[in-house]
């Protein structure tokens, strides 16, 4: 039977876990013997078809930052982002595909073929980013059976391996993203209440604050700029990360900075660091407040706070959480691994639901009591033109049909009306986002719905959205009078080309590259 695996495709580190014979998740070390792999890619300048992924890529980065990529997850789904290496413009999905290829390749050293996987994503990832993550998996030769939210994966791990119960808040502060999820746990039944996330808040932002201290100190002492080129920037970014880690263990970190005006000594205390990251921590606390508000509870009603992600090792964060909730947060043995471990459990649950005959009996027995009730990750709506009460004029507005954090599976139907006499076309737009202002929502699909001719205005159009257990959305527009139906396929790209074709093309291209 096929191996059931889960992958945490993180901003700074990635990890692979599989389910053992009795359905318990285990981390699969990489070819260097490490349990987690840096999400870094380096394109070898001497060997065209060789790509270094992991620690080697991190080490090479300082030598040639132009051929190196880190924190690619922050660009996931960004259709504009490209990294030009030699004759190829690499997309974030392709680069992520290389990282996943390395995990798959290393995992297969000691196990049989790894194909069916669940990949974790931040809870706040939108439809485009989720799709991009799945595409990256396919490009790596994986069969992505599902996508799981990182805090949900972590909660699955905590709930099934540790003794937790009641209302739980998962505080997931990783290398580049931050998520808060509130859930009710009873035995092995996990009911997600809500998830909120901040896409641009994580360990790399804390590193950046330390880098700013380096630069300010050097300039103050020498009157010169510390960083003159990308190579120096890469070097000091890595050193800033070291200092951050040191400050989680000690009260002071010392460093000698070398720049164009010679050396300068810098001493950063834990207090300096805490002051520097205060506004970022403020952002995490606001997200907690938003989540508590969404869940309709207060901090006192949270029974346990679970920490996930490497950045939660920072003592300042743990202290602030203790202060906020009146109790110390709970830390797993390794906060870097619990997402991958939970993703493997989720993969098992998905296979058990969709293809039970493919799951070994031991695994099925190990997972049988776990029940997960998830929620819709985003609000989905459509553009319409109601009359503005204030101005008395028609305005374009985003009308939400499926509200974020609605328990899955869910469905919603609303009726809209045509605007003019003889209207034969209706532009339908599917949106993702919380705003009613169309400028601030993500328009994930736009199509033209052809209507019968010669009709008066105000003909009813029924719009039906549904969201399934696999976190996939379905949209249907129906002209009530004629019965005409338009089903919008969210898998089509802007050029109308099926994403399957594009992905297959890119998979073939990645085949040519050897990952080390």
């Amino acid at each position: 039977m096929a191996i059931i695996a889960g992958i945490d495709l993180g901003t700074t580190f990635s990890a692979l876990a599989i389910l053992n014979k009795i359905g318990r998740p285990e981390i699969v070390p990489n070819s260097e013997g490490e349990r987690i792999t840096p999400s870094a890619v380096y394109f070898d300048e001497d060997q065209d078809a060789t790509v270094r992924v992991g620690i080697e890529a991190v080490n090479c980065r300082q030598l040639n930052p132009e051929r190196s990529i880190r924190w690619i997850k922050r660009h996931m789904g960004d259709s504009q982002w490209r990294k030009q290496i030699d004759n190829k413009a690499w997309t974030p999905e392709e680069i992520s595909g290389l990282i996943l290829k390395k995990l798959k390749q290393d995992g297969e050293i000691e196990h049989s073929a790894i194909e069916d996987v669940v990949i974790s994503v931040p809870a706040h990832f939108d439809e485009v980013r989720r799709k991009a993550t799945m595409d990256a998996g396919k490009m790596a030769g994986l069969n992505v059976v599902g996508i799981v939210n990182e805090p949900v994966a972590a909660a699955l791990y905590y709930a099934t391996t540790q003794n937790i119960s009641g209302r739980v808040l998962v505080y997931d502060l990783g290398g580049g993203t931050f998520d808060v999820t509130i859930m009710d746990v009873e035995g092995q039944t996990i009911k997600i209440i809500c998830s909120q996330g901040d896409h641009a808040l994580g360990g790399v932002d804390f590193d950046q604050k330390i880098l700013e201290i380096f630069e300010q100190t050097y300039e103050k002492q020498t009157g010169q700029k510390l960083i003159g080129n990308e190579q120096e920037r890469a070097k000091y970014e890595d050193e800033a990360e070291d200092v951050k880690k040191t400050l989680s263990r000690r009260n002071v970190a010392k460093k000698l900075l070398y720049g164009s005006a010679g050396s300068a000594r810098v001493e950063i205390t834990r207090q300096d660091f805490e002051e520097a990251i205060e506004s970022l921590i403020g952002r995490t606390e606001m997200l907690i407040d938003v989540s508590l508000e969404e869940a309709g509870c207060t901090g006192d009603q949270i029974d346990q706070v679970l920490l996930v992600g490497g950045s939660t090792r920072i003592p300042f964060i743990q202290n602030r959480l203790t202060e906020k909730f009146g109790k110390a947060p709970r830390v797993a043995v390794n906060v870097d691994e619990c997402v991958a471990l939970g993703a493997a459990i989720h993969a098992g649950l998905t296979q058990l639901r969709d293809r039970p005959d493919q799951v070994e009996s031991g695994i099925a027995a190990g997972l049988k009591d776990i029940k997960l009730k998830d929620v819709c990750n985003h609000s989905y709506g459509t553009l319409c033109a109601p009359i503005d009460e204030q101005t008395g004029k028609h305005v374009i507005r985003n009308s939400i049909l499926l509200k974020k954090n609605t328990p899955l599976p869910c469905q919603s139907t609303q009726t809209f009306y045509t605007m003019s006499e003889g209207q034969t076309e209706l532009q339908v737009t599917i949106t993702q986002g919380e705003d009613d202002d169309p400028d601030f929502v993500n328009k994930i699909a736009t199509e033209v719905f052809e209507l019968p001719p010669d009709r008066p205005a105000n003909r009813p159009i029924q719009v039906r959205y549904s969201y399934d257990l696999n976190q996939r959305m379905h949209c249907c527009f129906q002209d009530e009078e004629s019965g005409r139906v338009l089903e919008v396929d969210l898998a089509m790209n802007e050029e109308g080309q099926s994403s399957e074709q594009t992905v297959q093309q890119k998979t073939d291209e990645l085949e040519k590259f050897q990952v080390q």
Binding site: V128, L287, T391, G433, D435
Partner: protein, 381 residues
Amino acid sequence: MTGTTLGILIAVLTTVTAVVAIGPVPLRRLLARWIPSVDPDYFSCRILKLEEDTGSGYSDVLAIQIQGVIRAPRERCDTDLLICLTDVSEGNSGPKPVLCRRPEWSAEGSSANETKIHNGTLPARVSALTDWVTAIEIRTSDLVFPRRGPCLLECVLSVVETETGKPLASARGQVQVDCESRGYEEIRQQRSTKQAAILQLASCVWEWTRSNPEAKTILDQWLSQQSFGAGQSAETLLDSFSGSPEERVDQACDDLLGWAEPADRYIAVELCLTIAAACSDIPKDLLGRLLALAEKLEIPKERFQALSQKYLTGRVGHMEDPRALLGLTEEMTEPEIHQKLTAEYRKWNARVTHPDAAVRAQADQMLNLIAQFRSRCGRHS
């Protein structure tokens, strides 16, 4: 009744009346006493007020009718009816056109208070209408009068030769009507008042920006897109206000509230915000002044905040005090500030994954600003 039907009626009546009309003069004069239409010089027009059942109610209709003799230069002369409507409430010294919204009144080469209807061929050189015949029916709701209120509407109806346009018969009729909607003169005046008020507000905001040159460019751009009424210019509009900027703002806001549509008030505020956004440095008190201006225009606070965020978020770095951008006021208590900041955080955090890099950057900037204010005002659980 249409022109074609009118033509048929003329044909029938003409047969009878022509005999009389071409007879000896004394006989004609005698008959004309009893039948005016047979007076060879008689041609008359009248306007009747009718009610039309529209299915969902009744609508006022004006029926323009004619009676009398039409003399053509030749047999089988093709003719048109030319109808012109004017408001003569102020006497013949100042007749003003009454416009009609119907498409046939907007023909090229004619003014909107005139229309031409093809009448058809006259059956004889002298044709006569012994009864009143309806030439046209017009719904009063299709008419645009100069002003609201009572109006003496005059219709001049001429039968003209189609080929030459030469008048064959002409008459005028009058009727008293009550115009219930705003007249075009009022609309024009309203437009001018509105334009002046918006310009005045924009110019005051420009003064508040310490007469910033970039802001002036925006104001000039707006002016270049405006069309002014006859004898008007930006200068004359500005001259219609006097006093300090605050007094002029009060006056302009009063004008906009009294004369303009609600949408115009939003246009005014958006222009003011665009001018403010153009400044390289946004003075500390500007946002507060803009908020007060919006309040005077009865724009809800939340709407103003949404607008100001739309226009000014990209300028946060250039603002001396961006509190108003977050909807924070001096009177707020610390928990209220905290609550407001959380709400703002929720809003901007949902925008931070937007596909447009500019929106993402804007959202990121706002999130950092919110976090800064939050750490300044203390923490609350």
